[in-house]
């Protein structure tokens, strides 16, 4: 079975502070991990995927197979980063398995 855990439902930081959104997964095979973001009143959209090893909007995420984690990080948070963030696992078949999401609030 595949499972994604995001331990923090709510995360609040100040502008300019580092931010880390935690994600742990459970899957016996070789996973593909994704971060999706949903800004207020907007649709869910892909932020980044681990195979791309890219930085989007200053965010990065590294897949750690030993710790089965895919934490999302940004060194200096901005107010426009406030949104709901979902970690997702792509494993067997075509479905994505999502975590419960973390609501990030960046305070001025």
């Amino acid at each position: 079975a595949q499972r994604v855990t995001q331990p923090e439902k709510l995360l609040s930081v100040f502008k300019g502070a580092p931010v880390e959104l935690k994600c742990n997964y459970s899957y016996s095979g070789s996973p593909e991990l994704f971060w999706y973001v949903q800004y207020s009143r907007q649709r869910l959209q892909l932020l980044l995927r681990h195979i791309s090893r890219e930085s989007i909007k200053g965010f990065t995420a590294d897949l750690n197979k030993g710790e089965t984690s895919f934490h999302l990080k940004k060194p200096f948070a901005q107010e426009e980063d406030s949104a709901m963030y979902y970690c997702a696992l792509g494993a067997s078949g075509s479905r994505l398995t999502f975590g419960e999401g973390t609501q990030l609030t960046v305070n001025p």
Partner: protein, 117 residues
């Protein structure tokens, strides 16, 4: 269209009534997915279409839920005899090809917010 389109955006229905939710995927996308987003919970997979067939409908919560896709395009999710626990945002998504691996991107619609009273 430019993105995945869903209708209605909001629906309030009485308990026991049937509802239909519609999804127009991005043109040319062969794969179509339905997810449910409930308050305080993550996104729950419901069903997936490849063309007009549904290889995976294991996420449908009960036999009151059904979905179809016609012409390899529009899909309809039907909930019969709605219950209050069906209240949620129903998200449709599409992708160019089958699967989430290998760089394939899934694009989501804005969702249909269903409230059962």
């Amino acid at each position: 269209g430019a993105g995945v389109s869903q209708s209605p955006s909001n629906k309030v229905t009485e308990k026991g009534k049937d509802v239909e939710l519609r999804c127009d995927p991005i043109s040319g996308h062969t794969a179509l997915y339905w997810y449910r987003q409930s308050l305080g919970q993550g996104l729950e997979f419901l069903i997936y279409f490849q063309g007009n067939s549904a290889p995976d409908k294991s996420g449908l919560p009960s036999d009151r839920f059904s979905a179809e896709r016609t012409g390899g395009s529009v899909s309809t999710l039907t909930i019969q005899r709605t219950q209050q626990e069906d209240s949620a945002v129903y998200l449709c998504a599409s992708s160019l090809v089958h699967g989430v691996r290998g760089g394939n991107t899934i694009y989501f619609g804005e969702g249909s917010w269903l409230t059962v009273v």
